[in-house]
Amino acid sequence: MMPELPPVAESWLRDTLLRRAHPLLLSFDAGWCLRDVHGDAAFHGFDSGDAGRALRELQDLFIGLPLDGHQELPFIELSNGRSAHVHLIADPPGFHVLLLDAEEERVQQRAQQQLGNEAVLAGHEKSKAIGRLQEIRNELERQRASLEEANALKNALIATLSHDFRTPLTSIFGYLHLLEGPAADAARARQALGAIRRNATYLFTLAENLLEYGRGEAGALLNPGVLSVDALARDIDDMFRPLAEDKRLAFEVGVERDDGSVVPLFDEVRVRQVAVNLLSNAVRYTAQGTVSARFAWRGGRLRIEIADTGIGISPEFRERVFKPFNRGGQAGSKGAGLGLSIVRRLVEQMGGTLALDSAPGRGTRFTIDLPPLASLPAPAGLDPAATPWKKDFDVLVVDDDPDVAQLLEALLLDLGFRVRVAGDANAAVAEVMRRPPDLLLIDVEMPGLSGNAAVFRLRSNGYRGRIVTLSATSTGEARDASLRAGADYYLTKPLNLDQFVGVVQRATASPVGA
């Protein structure tokens, strides 16, 4: 309790507090009917003009609160924009509401709070920026290292190539010369032709590998299709039996299969490349004994086993033989050393595994196990040229540019899909929620809700189908942002049609939810 003040001080204090607080006391009966008003009504917006509204606002403040006890609600901003401390003073059967101006106090408190909050927000931004810088630095470091490596590889490539191409060519020219000579009897001619064929096959593999190597790790689009193992085995036989026989090696090709109810799809060119590389090594590095190739097709998976009784690879070279230009493992061997590195890369691209089993002096066995890239149901009456996706695959195309949407629609119809089109992201979200498509192709840069936002929203609502985003921005950052939002693939405009078709094939071939 404050002691009695001298009257002059008491009145001064009273005036000061009243001037600062602009108190307004509104007295109500129990039903919010205004009985009396004391104080600065205009200041708090309770002047005649909009008094009704101000009173309703006041009443709304106490929704759900008892009116028969004291209440205090500090710092309430009402529609007049000023802040007040609002008190409810019970006075049965009615009550009073007291408003005290809090604007000045609020301005001060806001200045402080604003500084504190902004400091925290800036701190968060800063640590994010630092993290991002770190990422960029690592990325640059990685790029520098890979450039160095690429340069070293290039030098090694040139050095080995000049040797690798010259040796078989020299030998081909030598035998041709011999064939053209006068004394070529039938036996010698046969031997010469065999040697020419061997060297030509080798050159062919070498050239294929160089192409594959040049294609690089990226840009490798798999091309799922129906694989005829019998035809593959026949080709392999045609290609390698003469080479093996020239060296008096036994050569065996076997095919084993179970007739499953599905037709698995593989990338035939890559499967062939794997087999050809492994066999061409096997024949080259085997002086006597047997070379065999076995294709086993079980439970939809393809197993390729290439075995020889050649010089073998000693344990310390197991890893190294898979690196480009390293061929220390196979003593006295010649060759660009690309073969095994490419085999490994292809197998990885196809999602398979590769096992190497070898004993120096006794032989080598490579076992490759490949999962199907996709599979088709029901082999009955299967048309091998058929598109590798289900016929009624449902695609939703979303682009605000009707020309682009139409182009995509036409392309997809050509590919045998069913196509729906939406013109903006909100419509797309609604359409997907109504009936989820197997594949969603969506433009990123659209007015209103962005494609990425729509993708995020769909993923957070549980949409599990494939999503391909299309964007005019080709930065890695834009790509990452889109993938983070939930896209499976990101394509840049203008569209490269081959790439587009490749991505659509991949998107539709991989099982949904994988």
Partner: protein, 164 residues
């Protein structure tokens, strides 16, 4: 008309004031002006096949946890719109923590979550998977006070729950 008290609850800077401005006045400001205490607004909401109802929206100053003044403001509320900022994962944790605290005093309150700043989705820390899981517990809306996306839907969901 039935009138209900709805409180906006979430960490500071997540966009509570901006969501209310979008919902009530269809405006947006880039500038951040932190809320001190509470700003009270109201809006009538039309409902399909139902009487319209009035929402009295309490935009409460943002905090990571519920302190005594915050709890005081919540008394009498029948709905909570929890707000998080998608670009700050921590603000989502704060919103969930606040909800848990608020439910101790308001066991029957209707609640929804707005994860705001959808227009900045490229910079979001909160993932779709997280929200997909959260949806099992409460209605979740990705919103943007800037563009208006999802804002109406979030308030409408709460209004619909209040009407039943």
């Amino acid at each position: 008309m039935r009138t209900h008290k709805l409180c906006m609850l979430g960490d500071f800077g997540v966009g509570k004031t901006s969501l209310v401005a979008r919902f009530v006045r269809r405006t947006f400001s880039e500038k951040y002006l932190t809320t001190v205490g509470v700003k009270v607004d109201s809006k009538e909401v039309a409902l399909p096949d139902r009487e319209p109802l009035k929402l009295v929206v309490w935009d409460i100053a943002g905090r990571g946890t519920l302190d005594a003044p915050g709890a005081n403001y919540l008394r009498g509320a029948s709905a909570l719109l929890m707000v998080a900022d998608g670009t700050r994962e921590a603000s989502l944790a704060a919103a969930l923590e606040l909800l848990e605290q608020a439910r101790r005093d308001l066991p029957d309150v209707a609640a929804a979550l707005a994860v705001n700043k959808l227009d900045l989705v490229e910079r979001w820390e909160v993932t779709a998977a997280t929200l997909s899981d959260l949806r099992r517990e409460l209605p979740v809306f990705e919103t943007s006070a800037l563009s208006g996306d999802g804002v109406e839907a979030a308030f409408a969901e709460l209004a619909a729950r209040l009407a039943t």
